[in-house]
Amino acid sequence: MAMSYEPGYAGLGDRLHIRDLIPAPRLAAAVWRRNAQVFSKLWKGALLPTFLDPFFYLLALGFGLGTYIAHGINGVPYKEFVAPGLIASAAMWSSAFETTYNVYFRMNELRLYDNVLSTPVEPQDLVAGDIAWSSTRATVYGIVVLIVVAAVGLVSSPWAILIPPFVLLGGMCFSVIGYTFTSLIPKIDLYSYFFTLGITPMFLFSGIFFPFNQLPGWVEVVAWFTPLYHLVEITRGLATGPDAVQILIHTMWLAVVTALLFPIPVRALRARLVP
């Protein structure tokens, strides 16, 4: 059966001059502000349940399953092992939803971007503002989880106070990946691939629920290519006692991948909305 493309689908689009890739901070901030304003109106209603997601995992796995894991993992009680990873995964889920369904809806259903792009805002400002918002939202979710797991005593290192800026960076990385997907897909149905083949396996196999040291080496190699693995390593490191060199390496990974991917949604969005 032939695939029916969304109207306006345009693929990757032309190469862009570097000038068309550098966002104007003031205009990206305007895009951020709109999203933040709408979030501030909606969070108490529709978005409240999404805050609860990580706590169900913590209850079921950390406190439930964890009871049967007598010696913990590498000497760390199981619930304490799982908790920092849930900060990272909360950021991932938040970014994934924001840059897929929410961006798609604003772009293709509400047609808000047609208006935004007929002001001085250009695609690079729009993508940067949306990603900045998405990672802000991811950080909010991450901080909520951090506060709760710290309150129930699952954080053993004071370095945990540094977690939020790293969650922001991780959120940027997840967001640019989600945005890339949204800008390139010809139709909304393909999100099921993104979540079922991308986000869910990453959630399960990035070292949140079990460590890699008893598994074949290739498992960790595969995990190394996923952003969640790196953010989990950072949050767990900071929550249990960090190794500065390791954290620097993981941070570099997230920053480099974010920077390398950023031009793709800018190009694709321009091709799609400014044909």
Partner: protein, 338 residues
Amino acid sequence: MTASNEPAGRVGEKPAPGDRRIRARPASNGSAVLARKLAKSYGSRVAVDGIDFEVPAGICFGFLGPNGAGKTTTMKMIYGLARVGAGELRVLGMDARRERREIKARIGVVSQETNLDGDLTVRENLTQQASYFGIDAHDSRPRVDELLEFSLIADRGDDRVQALSGGMKRRLMVARSMVNDPELIVLDEPTTGLDPQARLAVWRSLERLKRRGVTLLLTTHYMEEASRLCDRLLIMDEGRIVTEGTPAALILQHAGREALELELGEDCDASELLDTLAGRAGGHELHDGALTIFAQDADELLRSIDHDRFPTDSAIVRRATLEDVFLRLTGRSLREGE
């Protein structure tokens, strides 16, 4: 009354000198839009096929044409939502290919689709729009207040956009296009789908804008709208410009002063009738037994018809309109799609 107890520069009123926000621009001698051999294709479909036109600053300029004629594509190239395919396009003296951001900073857009932000209130829509021009909420506040007054929705500022009627949404679209005090506003079918009262309210807004010296460029399907608002207009069909001029000149040129509408009887031979009128009729349109004949004096024409030989069910004499011009130049057949 002194200037101090009058809010300086209400939009649409005579501006106070020196007030930048509401300055009325004298019609400058430059052109607001200049197109030379402008063309645009989407894949193999040619939307705009090498058109030349010039929109003088300070007037209301209309684009008429059936669906798919290329009007919207032309507008989108002007306001930066479609790239220029071929040829040259200058907007406010700037190159539409290279200076898109600069052009967009100085124009306003009312798109065909109502794309207000439904999650925000009326006021927030305007404040947010100003921020896309780099104007922060504090600085845009007076302007936003004026625009709410201007569009007659001042009492609805805190309502969500969804709560507005179609006409109010359209007026808000016009108000939103003005937040940056634009020199040129592009309106793509600004009143499509509105009831007569709402349409009239939008027209009044546009007339006030025109008086302030803002150049208006609009597309429309409504000939009455074009006649009322436009100082000059052009008619497009299949990507090309068919004709251009003032509404009055176009009517005289393509239709004539008056029109005689005849509903022909069953036995009436239209071509024979037209033969007898040859020389006095300026032109005609025949469609399903309805014959429209254009003439300088339609009454005189009607009296000269031999009604025994050419029986008619009805006869109406009226002034020729832009509608006549439009239908003569673009045909009566239905245009599907687009």
